[in-house]
């Protein structure tokens, strides 16, 4: 610790070089923070989907709606606490770029399955139950478009025309629900309309329930319950596939492609570059100071002491730049979260920080070690003679 002022002074010897190196490190770690947070989001690390929920979809595809008549059988499965069904509405608000998911559900069922995570005031629940053309929306979605309770939201359904052929629907916001758990809950970006209204008003598709959501009492039994459900409908036209909500979402992300491969390749390129750059800076910095290091050895610094000093300098540089970069990444993500986008909020969780700090230390050692060893080997007489 007592050498900290010394290291500080050494670093600022060549101001431009240190500033530029630090700035490169900052951009590298800004990218690392953003890419790793995205990576962790797509691999499910930060998805807050640990509720004991199973999703039962048609085995052929979740886009193929299951009929409503499976409901009593699903409710009778031991271990299933509550069942809700949810029909995708395919609504577009003003422009298709504004995409957000809209599901048609029955309020009582939805509340039984989701009220552990989503909070809606008693008055708003009553309002939703009272009128069939109402809807509830998640806080994040409401903020995105500035909706308030009582607003009328026009939607154009891609999937369901009304009986007169029109695709224009409108729903009154009866309530805005909050998240009881964490703010990363993906449901906060959804809208829920009433199934009974949709089913009566749509031109076709009556009796189609969509997918089923099963709340189970014991998360440990998820696998057993899922197989029990699927066994019931085997070899029927309505074969089912049941999995946890988390697996369902992860599979959904994987459909987009091998994202982690792309993200990791970019990270690799960034790291290789920053390794070259910082390595070059460190080797220059030590090269210029050879006579100084010799003097330090002359006045009693041991070989090991010199090695540690150079290593500490390199670590200090990498950690300083790295922390600044990560701080910038965190700020960027916070700003992105407040922007009106359809992307779920990203944040650098513990794993991302551990990875980043590990990278800073690793980088510091890798680029610091060769010049540090060189400094240790330094022969006082030769160095002072400039040989």
């Amino acid at each position: 610790m007592k050498f900290l002022p010394l290291i500080w002074a050494i670093l600022w010897r060549k101001k431009i070089r240190t500033v530029l190196t630090l700035l490169s490190l900052v951009t590298a770690f800004l990218l690392l923070g953003l890419l790793q947070a995205a990576n962790s989001l797509f691999s499910g690390g930060t998805l807050n989907l640990n509720a004991p929920l199973l999703i039962t979809q048609a085995r052929v595809s979740f886009t193929n709606p299951l009929p409503l008549r499976l409901l009593p059988q699903l409710e009778a499965v031991p271990g299933v606490e509550a069942v809700s069904y949810s029909q995708f509405f395919g609504g577009i608000y003003q422009d298709q770029k504004n995409f957000f998911p809209v599901f048609a559900v029955m309020p009582e069922r939805w509340l039984r399955v989701f009220s552990h995570e989503c909070q809606l005031s008693a008055a708003q629940i009553e309002a939703w139950k009272a009128s069939r053309t109402t809807a509830i929306v998640g806080r994040r979605l409401a903020d995105r478009f500035g909706w308030k309770v009582g607003d009328r939201i026009p939607l154009v359904s891609q999937l369901w025309p009304q009986k007169d052929g029109s695709r224009a629907w409108a729903f009154d916001v009866a309530g805005i629900f909050d998240d009881r758990t964490e703010e990363s809950c993906p449901r906060m970006g959804n809208m829920y309309i009433r199934y009974d209204y949709l089913d009566e008003a749509r031109a076709y598709g009556q009796g189609l329930a969509g997918i089923y959501l099963l709340r189970i009492s014991d998360p440990e039994k998820a696998l057993a319950i899922a197989s029990a459900v699927d066994a019931m409908f085997e070899n029927s036209p309505d074969e089912t596939k049941t999995q946890t909500e988390k697996d369902f979402s992860l599979n959904f992300a994987r459909q987009i492609g091998n994202l982690s491969l792309i993200l990791n390749s970019i990270l690799g390129a960034v790291f290789f570059t920053i390794l070259m750059l910082t390595g070059n800076t460190m080797s220059q910095a030590v090269h210029e100071r050879i006579p100084e290091l010799a003097v330090m050895k002359t006045i009693g610094f041991t070989d090991g002491g010199v090695l540690r000093l150079v290593l500490a300098e390199s670590l200090f540089l990498c950690v300083l730049g790295g922390l600044a970069g990560m701080a910038l990444a965190s700020v960027t993500m916070r700003v992105l979260t407040t922007l009106p986008t359809q992307f779920p909020p990203m944040h650098a969780d513990l794993n991302v920080w551990l990875f980043a700090i590990g990278s800073m230390l690793g980088l510091g050692v890798i680029v610091g070690l060769p010049p540090a060893l060189r400094a240790r080997r330094l022969n006082i007489v030769d160095a002072l003679a400039g040989r």
Binding site: S61, T63, S236, P237, N258, V270, Q284
Partner: protein, 393 residues
């Protein structure tokens, strides 16, 4: 002019003495250019696949107001009305060339281990006219499906990208077993990532009568207008009419916009990092050349040739980095085939396309970075105080 050339040439020859720090520019810019070209070649490939699907000579009819076949549903009572529309081409035997197609989605498995996913793949029920009028579609293996049997002909990409698709193989869905009886190719367009079966088989197996879309062979591409007018005049037909090509071209727009924006942001952040690296290298190059530069100035050279030599060094390094990056991205990505989720909510296979245009774009980024990275150090070199610089040694 001659002095500029001489000083620049001298400097370029001396560059090998600072090869380590020069590599920083080369590697940094190679990274930026490789990432830029790599990601752009992805959007380019996707766009190329979708724009290459369909024909201007065929009209596609969807329910009014929908964006994709998946959400379209045309009532079965409507279908006979379409045969009387103007501009519909007829076959040699006088049948109208119309295919009422039902598109449903099935899940296939892709990949192994941790990356294993169940992905959405379109199952398209086509009528004989649909195969007849799509002249780009050619049977590559096996035979076509028979009407009324649960038989499938898979696109070439479906076979290559997903597990378990081969002639003679079976797939199980909707409570029955389907046999793959053939493989078709269609020039790498979006249909190659589909499964095809008989339209009536698809309708009955999925319990969905009617059609998702109707494909019509036009007598001439110009007949589209007449067809459109006739559809809009008939109140029984709540349909949108476009050319098949325009429909597929529109499907790539969102993807291209989103990935394009992301690419620019990423590449820009990387470019800023590389720029700091380049500045660092060039400043240190100038400081290494301090004595040389001061000597040149002392014996009468002006600042200009010195500044130019610094700029040329930076640009030369940057452009060689750009070339390396372009080469890397070409070797790694060109022709690489991947699949992603398209507008229709189903997988589309496409190949990365590293085009000359993209390579040029990468090199322009490299050039700009080189110029920007060399500019300030060049000014410093030109202004170096001669006496101090010589004394420093």
């Amino acid at each position: 002019m001659k002095t500029i050339l001489v000083v620049t040439w001298m400097n370029l020859q001396a560059m090998r003495n600072r090869i380590g720090s020069s590599l920083v520019i080369v590697v940094g810019i190679a990274g930026v250019v490789a990432v830029l070209i790599g990601m752009l070649s992805m959007t380019q490939g996707f766009e190329r696949t979708l724009r290459g699907t369909g024909s201007d000579g065929r009209a596609l009819l969807l329910s009014a107001g929908v964006l994709a076949e998946l959400s379209s549903n045309i009532d079965r009572d409507t279908l006979p009305l379409l045969q009387a529309l103007p501009g519909v081409k007829r076959s040699a035997e006088g049948r109208p060339l119309i295919s009422n197609e039902r598109v449903v989605i099935t899940e296939l498995r892709k990949g192994e281990g941790k990356q294993r996913a169940y992905v959405n793949v379109s199952l398209r029920g086509v009528e004989p006219a649909g195969i007849e009028m799509r002249r780009e579609v050619k049977l590559a293996e096996g035979r076509w499906f028979q009407s009324g049997l649960r038989e499938i002909v898979a696109g070439r990409q479906t076979q290559q990208q997903f597990n378990g698709i081969r002639v003679g193989g079976t797939l199980a869905f909707r409570g029955s077993v389907w046999t793959v009886v053939g493989i078709f190719e269609s020039g790498g367009d979006a249909h190659e990532t589909e499964l095809w079966t008989d339209a009536d088989t698809a309708r009955s197996a999925f319990g969905r009568p009617g059609a998702s879309s109707v494909l019509i062979q036009l007598e001439t591409p110009a007949a589209l207008r007449g067809l459109k007018d006739a559809v809009s005049r008939d109140p029984r037909l709540q349909l949108d009419v476009t050319t098949e090509r325009a429909y597929f071209a529109a499907q790539s727009q969102n993807f291209v916009e989103q990935i394009g924006l992301l690419t620019t942001i990423l590449a820009a952040i990387m470019a800023v990092g590389a720029l700091f690296g380049a500045l660092n290298t060039m400043y240190s190059a100038v400081s290494t050349r301090q004595v040389e530069i001061a000597t040149l100035r002392a014996i009468g050279f002006s600042g200009l040739p010195v500044a130019v030599s610094v700029m040329v060094e930076a640009v030369a390094l940057a452009v060689s980095g750009g070339l390396i990056g372009a080469l890397i991205s070409y070797l790694l990505f060109n022709g690489l085939t991947v699949t992603t989720l398209g507008q229709n909510f189903t997988q589309v296979a496409f190949s990365f396309a590293v085009t000359p245009g993209l390579l040029l774009r990468g090199l322009i980024w490299a050039l700009v970075l080189g110029l920007a990275g060399g500019f300030l150090p060049a000014i410093r070199a030109a202004r170096l105080p001669v006496v101090d610089a010589l004394r420093a040694q």
